[in-house]
Amino acid sequence: MPSKITDYMLSISKRWRMFAAGTAVTTMLLTAGCTYPSEVTEFTAVAAATDTAAFDARELLEHAIEVTDTDEEAQSYWYTGYVKNNIGRRTTTSMYDGIVYRPGDAYLVNGRVATRQYRYFHFGDQSYISRGSNWFRGEPERMLPFDPLRGFSDWLPFMDEAVKLADSSVLSTPTDVIQVQLDAREWVEQAPSDLFDELREELQDDETLQHLLENTIVKMTLWIGKPDAPKQASYILQYSTWFVMPLPGGGYFDQETFFRFYQHDDPSIESQLSSPERIEKYVLDARFEQVDPASAEVESE
């Protein structure tokens, strides 16, 4: 009998030696305390200054605006962009992408603002906005003239201070990269943009606003197709603006506004933005009307 038990034990140990070892290793790996050692022993070194070779940024930008505005192949394209806000643990991103067809005065925006999604179509003097799966007519008084190049020329006064960064490429098109850094007060005061009119006026005698803008860093970077590029030569291909802005009780926050323009002259764009009729079918023509929750319960039954 004892030999039977021994045999039995032995047969187990033979068969399951690997298994037992595996289990032991498992338990050890799973329960062992791990120490996460420090990865930092010294502070990061200050980044090297960028190259500021002499070049005429003003002319480069002026030319790019003109080409992007008038070139025949630059009249329809895809775009993608975002505004990203980093505040402490929170990152709020709004995203925009879509297509543009300038000959038809038409564009599409797939937007997402603070996690809320919507779509927006603009056709000449018609516009449509989606809410969930429903389409509504946009309000005509909220429509703006479709002028995708508006605003770029407002950077021209600052081009004397621009620096040229290392050449780069945007989706395989080689580009010149120019960057300008300034404080927001200087920007508001000197940019010819009428969007700043109100702010500029208030800035005169508002100390809080002066302080706010003086402490705001603005850094704008433009990627412009190389003049000798086979395609998209001298097109504005990418546009990024960083703000670092004081936030009451929250340190400073980072914000990046970014756009990229690509696939110029894609023939599929024209057919997608040919006419508003496709959407017309789905449009709900009605007014919003708030109802008393109690009575709505009855009606929705």
Binding site: S38, N86, P248, P293
Partner: protein
């Protein structure tokens, strides 16, 4: 009869065992992608191989079927219980014929699997089971916000009624029913923009303190300003979440691409000026921190007093972090602006003795700062909790001593638990050491001179913010957390039951039992 009852009990116990193993051993292993997960698959194979051949198929199918029930029921989202039950029954009706046809499983075991999966998913919704390895769930609040914003809203813990127990303070909009809007003959729910305070206390269970029973204006000040939806929304002083944008206008203006940053600045300035208007132009104000009093940051000046001695200096800071113990009874003040500065009153002048610049620490603008004394030497440390966690001790000659730091962006310190006691624990979100994914999980660490020593880790998905505090007054901290997408608060207390070890042990026992069974049969057959 008695035999059948015993068999059903065994089936129920097996289902519960499966549930715990699946959530704590299997998912944990894969979430952390520890080496253990590589041998997990062979272990499962061996276990099934040990099952006698004639029952093997049934065992495999039944096990998978239970896991399927659990996964399916987790994904069913119905607010009303009767719809949830109906869904569960429907799932059962679909699965039963498959189990019956393929593995000849009987009705009763399948029903029991469904009932166990249903019960456990109801008791522990939202994958709370995955926290059980080291935490015990004390309570879950109801949903506090209904609407389109995904990010959880800010919350904090504070003792507002002086009973030495922390209360949970947060905001939500579910006090009001959703507004209903009608277009044609369809009705839509539109979220309410009016928020109210939600304050909970622990009194033999989580109880909400009614608004009349507290000083609402004082409590409202305690809700952390976290700039929900900034800059598109602003939370006003009377707790209304107001949008600053209209979608159509945003779409129309964004497609004037060149103007996008110009418009962004205008909107930021508007939002910040509204914030400043609410405070009368003051960036930050603290009545008392340590020996510093009446601290005010406004219009580029920092003023206040230290031990009653007034001071005023130029400062671009926008946030007062707080007082820090420098040893020998000295105290400094940390403020955050473009850089982080440590001030000390020397010879009657407030002097910047230490500075941490944007060049020294990446993403300083976003940083969250905590003041703690992790090495218990009487000199407090400044901890950048996030991003790129670093623990800095102010040394002599204006030098920051680095006690610990990481280059891992996904690492984030959440809170100190049981601060100053023997069981002091640093709660942080840490990703797997082996795996490349940035998904991080709540981990308890102890600080040592060699590094952060891991005490435990729970693979609870989607933890956004965790804060520790003593809610029930037992002298030990509980953990309150928000998680992605559901706008509820979860309250947990750490336990010392070696759940993982018990489950591993049970698995080994199961294997041994099966092995003995198999061996006996094998010998018998010989």
């Amino acid at each position: 009869m008695l035999k059948a009852l015993g068999r059903y009990t065994a089936v129920i116990v097996y289902c519960i065992y499966l549930f715990l193993c699946y959530h704590l051993l299997v998912l944990g292993a894969f979430a952390d992608w520890s080496w253990y997960s590589f041998i997990l698959v062979p272990i499962v194979f061996i276990l099934f191989w040990l099952v006698p051949r004639e029952q093997r198929k049934a065992a495999v199918v039944y096990t998978l079927l239970f896991i399927f029930f659990d996964q399916a029921l987790y994904r069913v989202r119905w607010m009303e219980t009767h719809w949830y039950i109906l869904n569960a029954i429907f799932i059962g009706l679909v699965i039963y014929p498959i189990g019956r046809w393929y593995a000849k499983l009987k009705l009763m075991p399948i029903t029991l699997a469904l009932v166990v999966a249903f019960t456990l998913n109801t008791l522990l919704p939202d994958r709370m089971a995955q926290g059980l390895s080291h935490l015990w769930p004390m309570a879950v609040t109801k949903q506090l916000y209904v609407g389109e914003l995904k990010d959880p809203f800010p919350f904090t813990l504070a003792d507002i009624d002086g009973d030495h127990k922390d209360e949970i303070i947060t905001i939500g909009n579910t006090d009001q029913p959703a507004r209903i809007v009608r277009i044609d003959d369809r009705t839509f729910e539109v979220e309410d923009v009016q928020f109210t305070l939600f304050v909970y206390e622990w009194d033999k269970g989580l109880k909400r303190i009614p608004a009349e029973a507290m000083d609402a204006s004082r409590v409202k000040q305690l809700v952390p300003q976290e700039y929900v939806g900034f800059p598109y929304y602003i939370l006003t002083d009377d707790l209304k979440l107001q949008p600053l944008v209209i979608r159509q206008e945003l779409a129309e203006s964004m497609t004037q691409f060149g103007t996008a940053p110009f418009r962004a600045l205008v909107m930021n300035a508007e939002n910040i000026r509204q914030l400043l208007e609410q405070t009368g132009g003051v960036y930050d104000r603290v009545e008392q921190t340590g020996r510093f009093t009446d601290l005010v940051l406004a219009a580029g000046r920092l003023s206040g007093s230290y031990d009653g001695q007034p001071f005023e200096v130029d400062s671009d800071a926008t946030e007062i972090i707080g007082a820090i113990q420098l040893g020998e009874g000295r105290q400094g003040l940390i403020v955050k602006g473009m850089n982080i500065s440590l001030y000390e009153l020397l010879d009657g002048n407030l002097t910047e003795t230490h500075v941490l610049t944007r060049a020294m620490q990446p993403n300083l603008a976003q940083s969250q700062i905590m003041i703690t004394d992790v090495n218990h030497n009487g000199i407090e440390e400044m901890m950048i909790a996030f991003p790129y966690t670093i623990i800095l001790e102010p040394g002599d000659d204006g030098v920051w001593k680095i006690l610990w730091g990481t280059r891992e962006r996904s690492f984030r310190v959440e809170t100190m638990m049981n601060q100053g006691t023997g069981s002091e624990t640093l709660l942080a979100m840490q990703k797997s050491v082996v795996r490349a994914s940035d998904t991080n999980y709540l981990t308890g660490f102890t600080y040592t001179d060699e590094g952060l020593q891991r005490k435990w880790k729970v693979f609870l998905p989607g933890v956004v913010r965790a804060i520790a505090g003593d809610l029930d007054g037992d002298g030990r901290d509980e953990i309150v957390m928000t998680r992605t997408d559901n706008h509820k608060l979860y309250i947990w207390t750490p336990h010392r039951i070696p759940v993982i070890e018990i489950l591993s042990g049970l698995t080994v026992l199961l294997a041994v039992g099966l092995a003995v069974l198999r061996l006996r049969r094998w010998r018998h057959a010989k």
